[in-house]
């Protein structure tokens, strides 16, 4: 394991023998190459996700202090080209709880390891729909929303605004394509459709000439209610706003976005979580940080309530009616029993404020309004969770 960087964080809590309940949690990140983007205005933090896990660990430890529960975080970073499954096996030898920051295919492979059979894995990074659908795994829960939860949220907003005529510009990266597919699925779900789509395949440097290229590029769309941008790698989208031929709102990956979490979320006590995170981690909390935090806190909540570190006991509790996570989104968060997805409201934001929070008023559901976002029970092809 010479290639593996395993760090014991918060070694102060490493004295685990004396506690009534001691629980070790691993955070496993698989480094992947990111496509180059036109602008480097928003560097991706080195501790993306990890910072959320650390923050959640600290909260768990505070509660644990009063109950004799000790928590420990092991941070595992797998560089490109290293053996991911070997790293996962090593982590699984000492813990049954792993927060995963890895591509969907890697997460599936880890979940399929014999060593992971009784483990609880948390997907904190991938919005890939198939992981909640036919490719779901019984030992893999998801604290990051699926792409479709986010596009459903945005489309609920479109419906509410009575916008009906949409055009889309899509990027060429696989994440862009998945997002575009999710958006089309959501439009169909809520009875809307996409009138036209154009692919952004330019290699020009838009910082210099967005003002010339974008108007012409968008001119042939004609008039529409909103322009959707599918640019999940954040390459060209930022240059579309205010440069379109028609003066219309931009939504999707840029402009009006539906997100897991954003610095502008302040209601429901969120301001406290934001302040706490910013003070501890010295930067704002990003969606992946929130997902890792929620996974860590889910484990903490389950340990607190069951007084156990047994994975089977905790799993049963996590998927039961009695589990609820106070996730600073105004409603108790729970896991969907058919695919392990954490139900959660989705903030719809622009960089300066939250515009709305889905599920929007009026989108009813027989079970839970939050199930109007993402794969509902009858839609999901996930069979692994059926007893």
């Amino acid at each position: 394991m010479r290639l593996l960087a395993a760090i014991c964080a918060f070694c102060a809590v490493a004295n685990m023998a004396s506690a009534e309940v001691a629980i070790r949690i691993a955070y496993l990140r698989v480094e992947t190459s990111r496509p180059p983007t036109l602008s480097n205005l928003d560097p991706i933090p080195d501790d993306l996700g990890l910072a959320g896990a650390r923050s959640g660990l600290k909260e768990n430890a505070t509660t644990g202090r009063f109950l004799g529960h000790l928590y420990e975080l092991e941070e595992v970073i797998v560089s490109e080209g290293e053996d991911t499954l070997e790293a996962a096996r090593t982590a699984l030898a000492s813990t049954s709880f792993i927060l995963l920051d890895a591509p969907a295919s890697t997460q599936k492979a880890i979940a399929d390891l014999a060593e992971a059979e009784d483990a609880i894995l948390f997907n904190t990074s991938s919005g890939n729909l198939s992981l909640r659908d036919s490719d779901c795994r019984v030992n893999l829960l998801h604290t990051i929303p699926s792409d479709v939860m986010r596009t459903d949220a945005l489309v609920q907003f479109f419906v509410k605004k009575r916008w009906s005529d949409f055009v889309m510009i899509s990027g060429t990266h696989s994440a862009d394509k998945l997002y575009a597919a999710a958006m089309k699925r959501s439009l169909t779900k809520f009875g809307l459709e996409l009138r036209a789509e154009k692919i952004w395949a330019f290699d020009a440097d838009m910082r210099r000439n967005a003002a010339q290229e974008v108007p012409v590029f968008t001119q042939e769309f004609g008039d529409y209610d909103a322009l959707i941008v599918a640019d999940e790698v954040r390459d060209f989208g930022r240059y579309i706003l205010y440069n379109t031929w028609e003066a219309r709102p931009v939504a999707g990956s840029e402009g009006l976005t539906a997100v897991t979490w954003a610095p502008v979320v302040e209601q429901w006590g969120a301001a406290q979580l934001q302040t706490r995170f910013r003070e501890e981690q010295e930067r704002p909390m990003e969606p992946q940080d929130y997902a890792a935090w929620a996974a860590m806190r889910s484990i903490g909540e389950a340990v607190t309530r069951t007084n156990s570190s047994n994975p089977q006991t905790l799993r049963t509790y996590l998927l039961s009616d009695t589990f609820e996570l106070a996730g600073f989104k105004g409603r108790p968060l729970t896991y969907r029993t058919w695919n392990g997805q954490l139900r959660q409201p989705i903030p719809i934001v622009h960089p300066r404020a939250m515009v709305a929070q889905a599920p929007l008023e009026g989108f009813l559901h027989q079970r839970n309004e939050m199930d109007s976002l993402g794969l509902d029970k009858p839609e999901s092809q996930c069979k692994a969770f059926e007893e």
Binding site: E59, T63, F66, G269, Q272, R305, L325, A326, R331
Partner: protein, 319 residues
Amino acid sequence: MPPLKLAPLFLALSLPVHAGEIWVTNEKDDTISIIDTDTLEVVRTYETGERPRGITFSKDFSRVYICASDSDTVQVMDPETGKILHDLPSGEDPEQFVLHPDDRHLYIANEDDAITTVVDTETRKVVAQIDVGIEPEGMAVSPDGKIAITTSETTNMAHWIDTETQELFANTLVDSRPRHAEFAKEGTELWVSSEIGGTITVFDVATQAEKAKISFDVPNIHPDRVQPVGFEFTPGDTHAFVALGPSNHVAVVNGETFEVEEYILVGRRVWHMAFNADHSRLFTTNGVSGDVTVIDVGSRKPIKSIKVGRFPWGAAFRP
């Protein structure tokens, strides 16, 4: 025309003898709105520090204490003039507090610091700081002054503080996001509301054991939106009025059977409340709609909405 001249005098005499005021902190206006409990109108508005939330009066009502959360201080105001007399050291981000029956010590929840601070209001010094769970908020002191309670929103506990030693002697779990705590029935019961859990847990104080759990079922409102926060008891603790947050209702709970008897529609995101002098009227702060609902306690009907500042939060009565 002597009879007409007498009319105003007659009206003045017919007013209830227990005239008073409800003081409401406006979280996002940095002000206090003062409502006359007879005319049901805002009669004065005073400026405060940033983000005022918790508010309470000294026993003789000669001082009002205000948690100015974002100014990181507890302000002491002369209620006659609205003048800030001085600030008390409070620890960071004071949200809620409670005045000890000795009329001298304030127990303050420091939301951002996971600490309960005890301040002597006479010497203006911090007497003790007690480590509690994350995001402490609800504060209560037993009528005999021996026990102080802090509830922590993220740790989901009621922390029991021995006021003699200023140390924790028990920590009891409650449902998610506990917000408010009150002792009842001469200090034999402790009630704690859980906002996200949607419940009130009733503890037997002698044993710190859970005695009852109250849940709420507001017709036609999804249970997720039923979020109990502040609550107040009627005299004799026969009933509790419970603010249910974004369900926009106040529940009336029977103090003996723990059953909910009624739901009263109020303004949006109801937080806290205060009674008038004879407990015939209840004033609720409604954060999102920026108003105060006046409830007639006898008939359990809302009778008026009074516009106050932005995001009204705390409420306190002054004769």
